[in-house]
Symmetry: D2
């Protein structure tokens, strides 16, 4: 049986501020990427989220971001590769501390926002991140955009990797995501999103905006946890995947 991982960013609340629908969406995913306090999250939110993930039998991952709570880690900050290494080691360790104290197990790492985007294109940044993850624990799985530099870097340093695809984003013929600035960047119909992702898993192909099929490796699907339709979307995609006879489970 083919299998796929479904991952979702979580623990992105902070103090009194609430973001996302962690509790509701957890039953529909197999991996939780938990924010580590730099772009979102705080120690108490992290604990609550780790507990929820354990209760739901969902694999726990660290979701390190740029040190910019005000910008939610989405604004580019010019870092030296060593700074990126240090930020990742710090945040992965911080979540490890929480996970360890809850008797859980840290399974993967997925960089957040602009750190993820830049590392997708920048081999040096990608390698800093991959090396930090490897140096902390070589058994961790590194997530990265399908076809991007994070996966290359992960393999290079010796990590197991998770090639990530999006159900609700359209693709270009070079295998990259259509920029969010473009009109047709998003797939808002849950049925079409489910079809796209099922085909990526089964056939390893996605239909690009330019009209032809592109090869793509789908090992983990990113599910969005916020927005008004997040939950309905997650349910629908999961159903589609299960109906296709594909197993849903964490990588590694």
């Amino acid at each position: 049986m083919k299998t796929i991982d479904m991952n979702c960013d979580m623990g992105e609340s902070f103090g009194v501020y609430t973001l996302g629908t962690d509790k509701e969406i957890l039953p529909y995913v197999s991996s939780a990427n938990i924010a580590c306090g730099f772009h979102a999250g705080d120690p108490s939110i992290m604990r609550k989220t780790v507990k929820l993930a354990i209760e739901n039998g969902v694999a726990i991952g660290a979701h390190p971001g740029l040190p910019d709570l005000m910008g939610f880690g989405r604004r580019h900050i010019d870092l030296f590769p060593e700074e990126a290494y240090d930020l990742v080691a710090y945040q992965v360790g911080a979540l490890w501390g929480i996970v360890q104290s809850e008797g859980g197990h840290l399974r993967h790492v997925k960089a957040h926002g602009m750190l993820y985007n830049r590392a997708t294109q920048d081999p040096e940044l990608a390698e800093s991140i991959a090396r930090a993850v490897y140096d902390i624990d070589p058994d961790l799985v590194l997530f990265g955009l399908a076809g991007g530099e994070l996966l290359n870097a992960g393999k290079k340093v010796g990590l197991k990797t998770g090639s990530e695809v999006f159900a609700d984003r359209t693709y270009q013929e070079d295998g990259t995501l259509t920029s969010r600035r473009e009109a047709n960047a998003l797939i808002e119909d849950a049925g079409l999103a489910g079809e796209q992702v099922t085909r990526m898993i089964e056939e390893g192909k996605v239909h690009a905006q330019q009209g032809k099929d592109v090869d793509i490796l789908a090992e983990t699907v990113c599910i969005h946890g916020d927005g008004p339709h997040a939950l309905a979307f997650a349910k629908s995609i999961r159903e589609k995947i299960e109906n296709a006879g594909i197993g849903i489970r964490p990588i590694g």
Copy 2:
């Protein structure tokens, strides 16, 4: 041979700001308490400090503090015990991430500033801290003021503990430190400080301000890393201890 640990707070620089004389003082201590980014320190400073500690063969400890960089963790912040637990788990984990990635080993935990002071007197706070440390790694050694609640809590939860004494502070007849607001709180003569600490190690006694001897357990001596005379003081105290035939090594 009697032995004693000598510890010093380190890694308390931040960004472009420099504090302390880590590099110079490391050869004179056996344990480094490394700040974890809340009251001081940042991921890159933490790495530099961990590297220095490893190079000097000094035991590495986490030095978690209150989330108050502006106040250097010295201002009381009213926390729920669970918040303290979470802050400690986060910070110890963060340093663990850095230590792990450098191939080092995390040996102990010493709370910083007001977190340490309050936990010395507050059994509930002390237990939160001790439990967080135990739940992360039951082999970690928990430092606490000789005679204080942190040691009680550490023992209660099953941790090895390090009873901390001060060479350069005077003591009250109830075994507590003389408040810094008192005129005679500090011992500024390195020779007298060395004598006090040597006697604490050898005889388990300290001469209190009220004129009589008090029992005290000395397992680790706190050495201050800042101030103009820090280095001379550290050297002098180490010499005194070595001349008394006492071995200097980490606990545990």
Copy 3:
């Protein structure tokens, strides 16, 4: 005609995080207390909120808090009076910068959360805050709990003050609010809340939990902007006040 001010805390969102219902509640109040970036708010949120207040013809006030975004300014932090002075001057100035650049006018200052609570009881802290406000602009109005030290301090330094009452909190016979830890601290019936506040305005009296009437000066009523019933409550209280023939307008 008797008049009263109705105030509400606003601009307490941060970055991507949203809190409160500023836009909806603005039509029902006459004064907006805008967070200044320490316990909540950021420069862009501040600007949006100032614009909204100006559009709604609502008086603008600074709402300075303790430097603790994670704790939303609700955790006590032990400050020296000079530190409180500096924090208030900084935050009031910051909001002034935004207000000035929008062509608005800064009318009042209301401390937030634990800074407000402590200053209500601590004359020295209250005077630090009052003096900071006066030294920036002696025409600003200082809000404080009816009967509390902030009002005393404001008068002492020469400021106009706003004696604040709560529609939805019960009172003790010494004129203080019933602690939120008590079962009957809150008035959840909007009708009763409206009656309490109308009577405070018209008669200067409130019925205390112990059964007798207490004198109270109502110059501004605090309206809560969050919680599921905030808007309905605000509407209802405003109606009650207007039906009693009381004018609603800012102080000073």
Copy 4:
């Protein structure tokens, strides 16, 4: 008599961390650019620095930076122009609050670090900053690199501007500074630095690295307040300027 302003960045300490030699260097400059809490500085440091500036009769300016204490405002952060506007309005206002409460007068604004560097080259960012300054107080003087976009933007929005030159940096034939990555970026001889700056003031010319003279407008000279030779350098340059019969005073 020709005159020139001499400015220096100040108040860049934070909490327990000390940076610079504000007290020593103040007697040698006519303008102090005071950090506003984002890249450096905190409310209490700001007050101390404002007091020192007033005592020394030195003009007070705001020195707003990017929100990045860990990177000291030197790392590029990708901001929307409106975010830059808001950050500047907030920080200038915050310093205004402190200055106002000390009975002083805010005279100028100089952006810090990467905010200054980027605005020197980016007309849109420069205009956001200039407009924020103008909208707060049209009498403020906006400092910017000689020949750069900040000066253009300042003039465009109607501000008085201060064209800034460096005594200790070499210039390119297009009037820009030699990059710090180049070997000959710095003039380390105080005598040569003094000659360069005196000639810029008297003749409006600087000798570029490529060998020919370039026109340059010198209205304010940047003096560095940190580094081991800062004080000696400041003294020497001031002497050179005074010996040339040039008056030293703030702009505007």
